[in-house]
C-alpha cells in the first residue's frame, strides 16, 4: 500500500505520522507475540520518536541560578581555577552559575541527553554550547526553546555574517558562543616548502603522514571547496560523492593514515602527522606550548567556519537566566576578556577594539580576530536535512571504518 502524501501543516503532519506509527506498532507486536509483555513494558519506557516535547514553565524570577554545560578550556580561568567573567556576572545579576565542562564531543553529549530531551525533561543544564550541525538537529527535533530577543539587547553586537544561518534563520533558537576555522597546517621543519591547498596534501612525499579530521563537515568541506563547490550554497549528492571518492582514494592508498577528532594533536606533536586538516584554535595553543612548530592557513580555495552556539534545552525552567547570561557575554568588553584567554573567534562586534586595550598583539592575530580577507575564505557548511545527514554520515563513517 502506498502511503498518501502528508499534509503540509507541521502540526497535522505530526499527528498523522503518530497515528501511522501506532498502527504499525500494534500490528507487529501481535505477530511477534513472543516478546509479549516485556516488549510492551519496554516500549512504554522508551520515548516516542515522533512527538515534539513542550518547553518547561519559566521560574527564573524566583530561582536565581543557572547550569551551563560547555567544552573544556573554553572560558577564561584564573590561576585559582575560578572563572573571572562568570564571577562578575554573578555580582552583576545575582544569578549563580554552575559551569561544567560536560561536553567533550557533540555525539556523546547528544547520546547522553537525547532521551530526556525527547520527553521534555530537564537535562540538568539551562544553557549548552554545541556545534552548528548539532544545533541544527536539536532545532529540527524541537529540543530547544525559542529565545526572547527582548531579553538579549546586546545581540545587536552579533557579527552580521552570523545573523542568518541556514539552520536557524534569524537566530531565534541559538546564539553563537565562539567559532573557529578548519584549515591546513604543516610541520615547518619537516615540510619546509609549506602547503597552500588541499591538493598539496596528496603529495606522495607526504604518504602516510597526512591527517584529516573525523568531523565530517570540516574534512568534506575542505575537499569540496578545493573542487570549487560553494559549501554554503546549493549542492547535492553528486558534489558530495565526488569528494567522498577523493578521500576514499587517499585513505585506501595510505596517503591519509590518521582520521581523528581531538586526539590529532598528539600525532602532530609526535610527528606521525606532518600535514593535516586541523582546527585553528588548537594550532595556536599547540604553537604556544611547542615553540611555534606549525603553520596554519585557511587555503585560498576556502576553509570552513564553524561556531559553537548557546541553546536553552527544552526542559530548562530557567530560560530567562540563560538569556541574561548570553546578553552579558555579548558585551564587547566581556567578549574581549574571554577572547584573551581562549584562542577562538568571538562573534561579538566591537570585541576587537576592546581587545586592543588588553593586548594589541592578540587583537591583530588573524585567527582570533580575522579581517575581511580571511573571513571571505571561510565558509559555513550548509544545514543538512535529516535524510542527507544520515546518508552523508554513513558514507563518511564508511571510509573511517574501512568498510
Amino acid at each position: 500500500m502506498k502511503p498518501r502524501p502528508l499534509p503540509a501543516d507541521p502540526m497535522v503532519r505530526q499527528l498523522v505520522q503518530q497515528a501511522r506509527n501506532a498502527q504499525i506498532a500494534r500490528r507487529t507486536l501481535l505477530t511477534g507475540a513472543g516478546a509479549g509483555a516485556a516488549a510492551l513494558a519496554l516500549a512504554a519506557c522508551s520515548p516516542g520518536a515522533n512527538s515534539a516535547p513542550t518547553a518547561a514553565a519559566d521560574s527564573s524570577d524566583d530561582d536565581k541560578s543557572l547550569n551551563w554545560d560547555n567544552w573544556a578550556l573554553y572560558i577564561d580561568v584564573d590561576d585559582a581555577g575560578n572563572y573571572p567573567t562568570l564571577e562578575a556576572f554573578t555580582t552583576k545579576t545575582g544569578i549563580k552559575v554552575t559551569y561544567s565542562e560536560a561536553v567533550d564531543d557533540n555525539n556523546t553529549y547528544y547520546g547522553k541527553v537525547k532521551d530526556q530531551l525527547a520527553l521534555g525533561q530537564d537535562i540538568g543544564a539551562d544553557a549548552v554550547c554545541l556545534t552548528d550541525w548539532m544545533i541544527g538537529r536539536l532545532i529540527r527535533f524541537g529540543y530547544v526553546q525559542e529565545l526572547d530577543h527582548d531579553n538579549i539587547p546586546n545581540l545587536a553586537n552579533l557579527a552580521p555574517s552570523l545573523k542568518d544561518v541556514s539552520f536557524d534563520p534569524g537566530r531565534k533558537m541559538s546564539v553563537p558562543w565562539q567559532g573557529g576555522f578548519a584549515g591546513i597546517c604543516w610541520n615547518k621543519e619537516k615540510v619546509p616548502g609549506g602547503i597552500s591547498s588541499v591538493e598539496e596534501l596528496w603529495d606522495p612525499q607526504l604518504k602516510g603522514r597526512v591527517g584529516v579530521l573525523s568531523e565530517m563537515r570540516d574534512t568534506m568541506g575542505l575537499i569540496m571547496l578545493e573542487a570549487g563547490v560553494d559549501i554554503a550554497g546549493e549542492w547535492g549528492d553528486d558534489e558530495f560523492a565526488a569528494a567522498i571518492d577523493v578521500l576514499k582514494k587517499q585513505v585506501e592508498d595510505g596517503q591519509v593514515r590518521n582520521i581523528k577528532g581531538n586526539s590529532y594533536k598528539e600525532d602532530l606533536v609526535n610527528e606521525d602527522t606532518l600535514a593535516a586538516i586541523v582546527w585553528s584554535g588548537d594550532i595556536i595553543q599547540l604553537n604556544a606550548e611547542n615553540d611555534d612548530r606549525w603553520e596554519f592557513i585557511v587555503p585560498e580555495k576556502g576553509g570552513t567556519l564553524w561556531n559553537d552556539n548557546f541553546v536553552v534545552p527544552i526542559g530548562s525552567s530557567r530560560k530567562k537566566n540563560a538569556e541574561a547570561l548570553i546578553n552579558y557575554y555579548y558585551d564587547p568588553h566581556v567578549a574581549a576578556e574571554v577572547a584573551a584567554y581562549v584562542n577562538y573567534i568571538t562573534p561579538v562586534v566591537g570585541a576587537k577594539e576592546a581587545a586592543m586595550a588588553i593586548d594589541p598583539e592578540l587583537a591583530n592575530n588573524q585567527l582570533i580576530f580575522p579581517d575581511a580577507t580571511t573571513l571571505d575564505r571561510a565558509h559555513v557548511f550548509r544545514a543538512l536535512s535529516g535524510a542527507e545527514e544520515q546518508k552523508y554520515n554513513a558514507d563518511f563513517q564508511g571510509i573511517l571504518l574501512g568498510a
Binding site: P3, L6, Q17, R20, N21, I24, A25, T28, L29, T31, G32, A35, A38, A39, L42, A43, S46, A49, N50, N107, T108, G111, K114, R137, R140, F141, K207, G208, R209, S214, V251, R257, N258, I259, K260, G261, S263, E266, D267, N270, E271, D272, G386, E389, Q390, N393, A394, Q397, I399, L400, L401, G402, A403
Partner: protein, 305 residues
C-alpha cells in the same frame, strides 16, 4: 577430579534440612537475581527489540520504530563481515601470543621460583602492576612509543627491519600488539593459579616412567594446567574480540584495522543507527557464545564453568 570429589561430599554433609536451606538460599540469591534481571536481562531484551527496529517513515536521524525487521541482521553481515572476521582473527592471534608469552612466565613464577617466595611475590606484583595505571593511558603511551619518529621505529628502520616509508601506528600490527599487551595479565594470573598448585611428584613419576622432559611437559604439565589455560584464553579472547579501544583510530588503529567494537560504537554514537548497532552486538555475543562453548567442550573442562 579432585574438586568434584569435594563438591559431592560437601553436598552430602549438608543434607539434613534441605527445605529450610533452600528458602534461605533463595533469599540470599534474591539480590543477585534482581541485579541480573535489572541490569542484564532488561538491557538484553531491549537490545533484542532494538535490533528488529526499522527506520520510521519520514523519520529523522536516529528515529526508529519496532517492526520485526530481521533484514537488519543480513544487512549487517553483508556490510561488516570483514570487520567481524577481523575481530575474531585479531582476538585469536592476540590470545595465542598472550598464551605463548604468559605460559613460561607463569611457569617461572608458579613452579621454578617456589623455593624463593619473595621472588615469587615480586614477580606477581610486576605482573599486576600495570593495573595501577589506567589502560587507556598505557595504550596511549604505546602509541607514542610506536610513533614514526620514535626510537623503536627509527631503530627498526636503521637495521632495515622496517621499510623506509613504513610505520607502525594505525596498522593491524599495532592493534594486535596492543591487544596482546593489554591482556597478558588476564592470561598470566589464571595460569599462575593452576601452575602454583601443580604437584611436582606427577612430573617425577613421569620421568621415572622414562618420559623425556618434553614428553612430561606435553603429557603431564599441560593437561594438569588445562584449567588455567582455558580460563586464561577465555578471559583474553572474549574481551579482545569485543575490544574497541586498541583498534580505535584515536589509539593504535587505522581505517584498515577497525574491529567490530568500533563499528558498533560508530553506529550507536555517530550514525545513531541503533538497530544496526544492536544487531551487531547480538551477533558478536552469539558468535562468542558458540565459539566458547565449542572450545570448552573440546578442552573437556566443563566442570570449570
Amino acid at each position: 577430579m579432585a574438586f568434584a570429589a569435594f563438591a559431592t561430599t560437601a553436598a552430602k554433609s549438608g543434607e539434613p534440612a534441605p527445605r529450610r536451606r533452600s528458602r534461605v538460599a533463595l533469599l540470599l540469591l534474591l539480590p543477585g537475581i534482581l541485579y541480573l534481571v535489572l541490569f542484564f536481562l532488561t538491557p538484553l531484551v531491549s537490545l533484542l527489540l532494538t535490533s528488529f527496529q526499522a527506520p520510521s517513515e519520514f523519520g529523522d536521524v536516529g528515529e526508529f520504530n519496532y517492526a520485526f525487521r530481521w533484514e537488519n541482521y543480513t544487512e549487517v553481515v553483508g556490510a561488516y563481515l570483514p570487520h567481524i572476521l577481523r575481530s575474531f582473527g585479531f582476538a585469536f592471534v592476540a590470545t595465542v601470543l598472550a598464551l605463548v608469552i604468559s605460559y613460561p612466565l607463569a611457569y617461572f613464577i608458579g613452579v621454578s621460583s617456589r623455593r624463593w617466595p619473595l621472588l615469587q611475590s615480586v614477580m606477581l606484583v610486576l605482573v599486576i602492576a600495570p593495573f595501577f595505571i589506567s589502560f587507556l593511558l598505557r595504550t596511549l603511551a604505546w602509541k607514542q612509543l610506536l610513533s614514526d619518529e620514535s626510537f623503536v621505529v627509527t631503530s627498526l628502520k636503521a637495521v632495515s627491519l622496517l621499510a623506509p616509508d613504513a610505520h607502525l601506528t594505525g596498522t593491524p600490527f599495532a592493534v594486535i600488539f596492543g591487544l596482546t599487551y593489554n591482556f597478558i595479565p588476564f592470561m598470566t594470573l589464571p595460569l599462575y593459579a593452576t601452575l602454583e598448585r601443580l604437584d611436582l611428584r606427577y612430573l617425577e613419576a613421569g620421568t621415572d616412567l622414562y618420559a623425556n622432559p618434553f614428553h612430561v611437559f606435553l603429557k603431564v604439565t599441560i593437561p594438569l594446567s588445562m584449567p588455567g589455560i582455558v580460563a586464561g584464553t577465555l578471559l583474553t579472547f572474549i574481551p579482545a574480540a569485543g575490544d574497541y579501544i586498541n583498534a580505535s583510530r584515536d589509539f593504535l588503529g587505522g581505517p584498515d584495522s577497525q574491529m567490530i567494537g568500533n563499528v558498533i560504537e560508530a553506529n550507536f554514537l555517530v550514525l545513531l543507527n541503533y538497530p544496526i548497532a544492536a544487531a551487531l552486538s547480538l551477533i558478536l555475543m552469539a558468535v562468542i557464545l558458540v565459539v566458547v562453548s565449542f572450545y570448552v567442550k573440546r578442552a573437556g573442562t566443563e566442570e570449570l564453568l
